[in-house]
């Protein structure tokens, strides 16, 4: 392997770091593959270089986009380093991208003797950029992660370049360095900050989310659901491996005088959970309902049959709307139809009993999402009693903290005895855990 990692290794190593920063997962083995591939194709043609690295490093359409972005950003930066002022950007296919880092290296050797200040004075922008690059490497700019570190790194780089205090020029130098650090922050830390933000979102209360985070949340929800579906699809298959079915084995092997060449296994059918979801879509709970429905629909693979209902003052079935339209539009439509009113739990349960109670079987799990605040209307607990008798179980997800249950007009404790599980659920993490439990029990 050592032969494979030749002269190309330094720019490649730095690019791999940039790629990781952009959120690609590049393993060591892939890094080695990339180095071997570069030995074959060289740096000669940037298009081929991009194609090749893309083949090895990016493994999904999403990753391809990230890769393209990182590649362009990185090699643009090298062009800036390599010489020439940043105004004359190179054509991407110019065919000598390898000159970038190497020429940069030479330049640095020459200019590091001079001070940044004097370079600035002579308006030697190319050498200035090169010297800055060298200083940045010494300062370890690749470790920059958060924008709060900008000033720290800017100071370090400025110190390392042994700047002379030149009247009027210091300001310009400082600006140049700050600019440079900012660009590097984008390059090296993008993935890291995104990850940080995502962690934050997972445990943020859903009702507090800002509009700008919604897109990201949707992606997160889909990812989580996919992960869950994959995990439980696997256990389901495992369950299908049974013990030897002696009778059918013998019968099957009759042709060979009963010598069991082909074995037949007893199989146990595993039912996918049937789920009915009742979502409160009145004011405060609406944000939560949105994500629950998204989650469940993303889980389609692991659930065999889900029917969803939305209620506030009364209850309607919304399965069809959700199935036919993209989730975002569907949710807006549902909200228009029934949302935002004040909730009446008793009335809604009565609607459910009239229309859909007959579809509830002993295999059905009923999930109710709501704060159980019925505005002092009749809670109709006797319907809940009948529902709990008919169904396999009832899970109640309440976005309110436990301390608030039973206060004011909350009927939570009146409903609780009929539920097999009542739990607080107001972040994405809670939601994931609740759904995971649901799938766990079903297997």
């Amino acid at each position: 392997m050592s032969a494979a990692v030749g002269s190309a290794s330094e720019p490649l190593r730095r690019f791999l770091q940039v790629a990781r920063g952009a959120g690609l997962r590049v393993s060591a083995a892939e890094g080695i593959d990339a180095a071997r591939a570069l030995d074959v194709i060289g740096f000669g043609d940037r298009v081929v270089l991009k194609d090749t690295l893309g083949l090895i490093l990016a493994k999904t359409p999403d990753e391809k986009d990230l890769f393209d972005e990182a590649f362009d950003l990185y090699f643009k930066r090298d062009a800036f380093t390599g010489g020439g002022a940043d105004e004359d950007e190179r054509e991407p296919a110019e065919g000598q991208p390898n000159q970038g880092p190497q020429a940069g290296g030479d330049g640095m050797g020459g200019s590091s003797g001079q001070s940044l200040g004097s370079l600035l004075e002579n308006d030697d922008r190319a050498s200035l950029a090169a010297a800055m690059e060298l200083a940045a490497r010494e300062a370890g700019i690749e470790n920059i992660r958060f924008f709060t570190q900008k000033n720290l790194y800017a100071r370090r780089i400025q110190g390392l370049t042994r700047a002379e205090r030149l009247e009027g020029r210091v300001e310009a130098l400082r600006d140049a360095v700050r600019d440079f650090v900012e660009r590097n922050l984008i390059l090296f830390a993008k993935g890291e900050t995104e990850k940080f933000r995502e962690e934050l979102l997972k445990s943020a209360r859903l009702s507090n989310l800002e509009r700008r985070d919604l897109d990201r949340m949707r992606v997160l929800v889909r990812q989580m659901a996919k992960r869950l579906a994959a995990r439980y699809a696997k256990t389901r298959r495992k369950r299908l491996r049974g013990v030897l079915d002696t009778r059918r084995t013998l019968r099957r092997n009759m042709g060979w005088g009963g010598v069991p060449f082909i074995t037949v296994w007893k199989q146990k059918r595993v039912e996918k959970p049937r789920v009915m979801v009742l979502c409160d879509v009145s004011g405060s709970v609406a944000a939560m309902a949105q994500f629950l429905l998204m989650f469940l629909y993303a889980l389609n693979e692991a659930l065999s049959d889900i029917r969803s209902f939305a209620f506030a003052g009364s209850l309607i079935e919304v399965s069809e709307i959700l199935e036919k339209q993209p989730v975002e539009q569907a949710i807006t439509k549902i909200m228009e139809m029934i949302g935002f009113g004040s909730s009446n739990y008793g009335n809604s349960f009565a609607d459910f009993e009239d229309g859909w109670m007959k579809f509830v079987t002993n295999k059905t799990t009923v999930i109710i999402l709501g704060d159980a605040r019925g505005n002092r209307t009749d809670p109709r607990t006797e319907i809940m009693a009948r529902l709990s008798q008919r169904s396999k179980r009832i899970i109640w997800l309440n976005p309110e903290y436990k301390s608030a249950w039973g206060t004011g007009d909350s009927d939570m404790f009146r409903y609780a005895p009929f539920c097999s599980l009542v739990t607080v659920c107001n972040t994405l993490r809670h939601l994931e855990r609740a759904i995971a439990d649901l799938l766990e029990d079903a297997v």
């Binding site: 090749t52 083949l55 090895i56 359409p61 010598v259």
Partner: protein, 323 residues
């Protein structure tokens, strides 16, 4: 393991990306630069290629063309749910084993006849080794066949996403080391490492372990120029102006929000239909009548129907025909 294999560039034909491009086009496959690069790198690094993309863009065709070009046998394995190693790798020929034991029944007394006691008889039998579990009774399935091909082969593992996760894990050994382990016989190494292509329609996400071992090639819809080249090579004798129109039409059709956008294979079919009908230029009625060649869903046809006039007009204008 890579040190054991001969250094890259095992095949004469693969000495540059341009030769790959030319070779594939000689086999009737017009490849983009990216595809050629993938094939070239795959051969030099001896890594499998995982090809993803929508149905009908020529994923399977790529493997066939590589095989034709290099003159190697194409060994194809279609994946499906429930595919297991006995169907993919090898199977014991039960029937033959049984038949042989029956035939040899009479001989058994001559082999162990003069021994006294069960232990001695068993010992004698042990001397014969595992004759019934030797290569004579082994039925090679696609994977084993690909390894045993002396001159190398092109192994196409089609629609890997349809197989189970367990099978995917089972493939790892063959993909990274070009060897398989058969418990009764031992490890079988490839005589010449085959060129391996896996295709996937992304119906499910493949495991990271599998992806890590492969080069990942995504083939999308070709651009207008490339598609024209493809059609010209697949439908020889098509009129230049008709070609321009129909490709322009299909390219526009892909911009519309459809359930299933028409693929290259559909464009080829449509081109054949139009040639068969002796079409000189696209007409709205003609397009309407043959649209079902391009679009496979009723809803899509309905959506497209409303825009046919505009699309045809634009396609004719692109080809420089007075409207």
């Amino acid at each position: 393991m890579n040190d054991l294999l001969p250094p890259g560039g095992t095949r004469e034909a693969m000495n540059s990306i341009e030769t790959v491009l030319r070779g594939l086009s000689g086999a009737g496959y017009i490849a983009s630069q990216q595809i050629a690069t993938a094939v070239y790198i795959a051969d030099h690094l001896q890594k499998p290629i995982l090809v993803e993309g929508p149905a009908g863009v020529g994923k399977t065709e790529l493997a066939k063309s590589v095989a034709t070009w290099l003159g190697l046998p194409l060994i194809r394995m279609q994946c499906y749910e429930g595919l297991d190693e006995s169907k993919a790798l090898y199977e014991w020929k039960y029937g033959k084993q049984l038949l042989y034991t029956q035939i040899l029944k009479d001989k058994i007394s001559s082999v162990i006849g003069e021994t006294d006691g069960l232990a001695a008889a068993l010992n004698k039998l042990h001397d014969f080794g595992d004759i019934f579990f030797s290569k004579h009774f082994l039925e090679p399935r696609p994977l084993l066949r690909a390894l045993e091909e002396p001159g190398g082969a092109v192994l196409l593992i089609d629609e890997i996403d349809k197989s189970d996760q367990e099978f995917e894990a089972f493939l790892l050994e063959i993909l990274s080391d070009y060897q398989v382990t058969i418990p009764e016989i031992g490890t079988v190494h490839a005589i010449t490492p085959p060129i391996v292509l896996l295709t996937s329609n992304s119906t499910r996400d493949l495991g990271d372990a599998l992806k890590r071992r492969c080069l990942h090639l995504h083939i999308g819809f070709p651009d207008e120029k490339l598609e024209r080249q493809i059609i010209a090579s697949r439908v020889p004798g098509i009129d230049e102006r008709l070609l321009k129109q129909l490709v322009s039409f299909v390219q526009q059709l892909r911009m519309i929000d459809l359930k299933k956008a028409p693929s290259v294979s559909e464009t080829i079919d449509w081109a054949r239909v139009l040639v068969l009908l002796h079409t000189a230029a696209l007409e709205v009625d003609l397009v309407r009548n043959t649209l079902n060649v391009l679009l496979k869903f009723e809803a899509d046809i309905e959506i497209a129907n409303k825009q046919i006039a505009g699309l045809t007009h634009k396609a004719r204008a692109d080809a420089g025909i007075a409207v």
